[in-house]
């Protein structure tokens, strides 16, 4: 009698608190594998994928009509207070004044249509006096090219955090 009852019990599928069939161990493992895969794949890709850019130049441009818009009361930041560059692959800061009037842009005065191209060849932190920023400073951080997977991952994470934290 008891053996029959035990046999009947062993055939019963385990159920969770809501009475629904509980996932089997294999299904749980599979689910765990998928979750780990979903998390790890972008991490591994971010670490392995080489850092490349279409151009070495990081361009910041004062669009035409900026002065007129500022005079009308519009406040718009064109140049972030901190710019990040990478030696060898994204190492040129390009400032262009496409407005109709001379403008203090970054470290200098640019005439209408004029641009200033500054290449950086070594990792460094460069401080430029700049009246366009509340702090009075423009900082150009030049980092070494991230060659190793860990460096690439860390560079991408830092870039993402900077973008999330805003200008």
């Amino acid at each position: 009698m008891s053996s029959t009852a035990a046999g009947a019990l062993s055939d019963v599928q385990p159920r969770d608190e809501d009475g629904l069939p509980a996932p089997s161990r294999t299904r749980r493992r599979r689910l765990f594998g998928i979750v780990v895969g979903v998390i790890l794949t972008p991490v591994v890709c971010a670490a392995m994928w080489p850092v490349t850019f279409d151009s070495r130049e990081e361009l910041f441009e004062i669009p035409k009509g900026t002065w007129a818009r500022r005079m009308a009361g519009e406040k718009r930041e064109i140049l972030p207070s901190e710019i990040h560059l990478l030696v060898g692959i994204r190492n040129v800061l390009m400032l262009k004044n496409s407005d109709d009037v001379p403008q203090i842009f970054g470290p200098t005065l640019l005439m209408p249509g004029q641009s200033l191209r500054i290449p950086f060849t070594r990792p460094s932190e460069n401080y430029f006096a700049c009246t366009a920023h509340a702090s009075g400073q423009l900082i150009v951080v030049v980092e070494a090219t991230p060659i190793w997977p860990w460096n690439r991952l860390s560079w991408r994470v830092r870039g993402m955090l900077r973008r999330l934290s805003g200008p």
Binding site: V44, M48, P50, G88, I89, I104, P107, T108, L109, L110, M111, G113, Q114, S115, L116, R117, I118, P119, T121, R122, S124, N126, Y127, F128, A129, C130, T131, G136, P149
Partner: protein, 204 residues
């Protein structure tokens, strides 16, 4: 099976890394000036100030020479002495060509930088360095024309009373009087020498 997967998992990243190094584009050598370049080059804003040699110092008088323009003050204990020391090294590296390069040090502190003080201070680095001073109005106009920022702040050295926070870049003016380059603070001496030699060759 497990072994094959393990070997594959180890080899795949190595292969990817190898492929990256094999196909990555090698950094192209920079052409032209190594420092900042103005495009198109414009006429360097003219000025006429009091020179440290006791004469009137006009930018026009230096046409035919390559001019390095520095904005600073003699009481500066951080940026200016480093830059002047750097330029002394640049002059040495230029050798005889240095005679065609004129350094003009425009003060941002007219209250304390008299022509005599400028002369004494600059001579400690290189006797050929020229200082320029003037009234606050004259110097303010020159700063504005070049986009130079300068403001008085409380000095960390109480004996000095005040210091001046100012733009630390150098300006390069070619033999024709065109404002060609901007040299950020800390640029290696060799890069400055490279750019000066380029400007000297272009106008000779």
């Amino acid at each position: 099976m497990k072994k094959t997967l393990l070997v594959g998992a180890l080899l795949l990243p190595l292969a990817a890394l190898g492929a990256y190094f094999a196909f990555r584009r090698s950094p192209r050598a920079e052409e032209g000036l190594r420092c900042g370049t103005f495009e198109p080059a414009r006429e360097a804003p003219a000025f006429s100030l009091d020179g440290s040699d006791g004469k009137k110092l006009s930018l026009r008088d230096h046409l035919g020479k390559v001019v390095i323009l520095e904005f600073g003050f003699t009481f500066c204990d951080e940026v200016c002495p480093v830059t002047l020391g750097h330029l002394t090294e640049v002059y040495k590296k230029l050798g005889s060509a240095a005679s065609d390069v004129h350094l003009i040090f425009v003060t941002v502190d007219p209250e304390r930088d008299s022509p005599e003080r400028l002369r004494e201070h600059l001579a400690a680095f290189n006797p050929s360095f020229l200082g320029a001073t003037g009234t606050p109005g004259e110097l303010g106009a020159v700063q504005k024309a070049y986009g130079v920022v300068a403001k008085q702040v409380v000095s960390r050295n109480p004996a000095q009373g005040y210091a001046v926070e100012h733009s630390s870049s150098l300006y390069l003016i070619d033999r024709q009087g065109k404002l060609r380059g901007l040299v950020p603070f800390g640029t290696p001496a060799d890069d400055i020498v490279h750019d000066l030699e380029l400007l000297l060759r272009k106008g000779s």
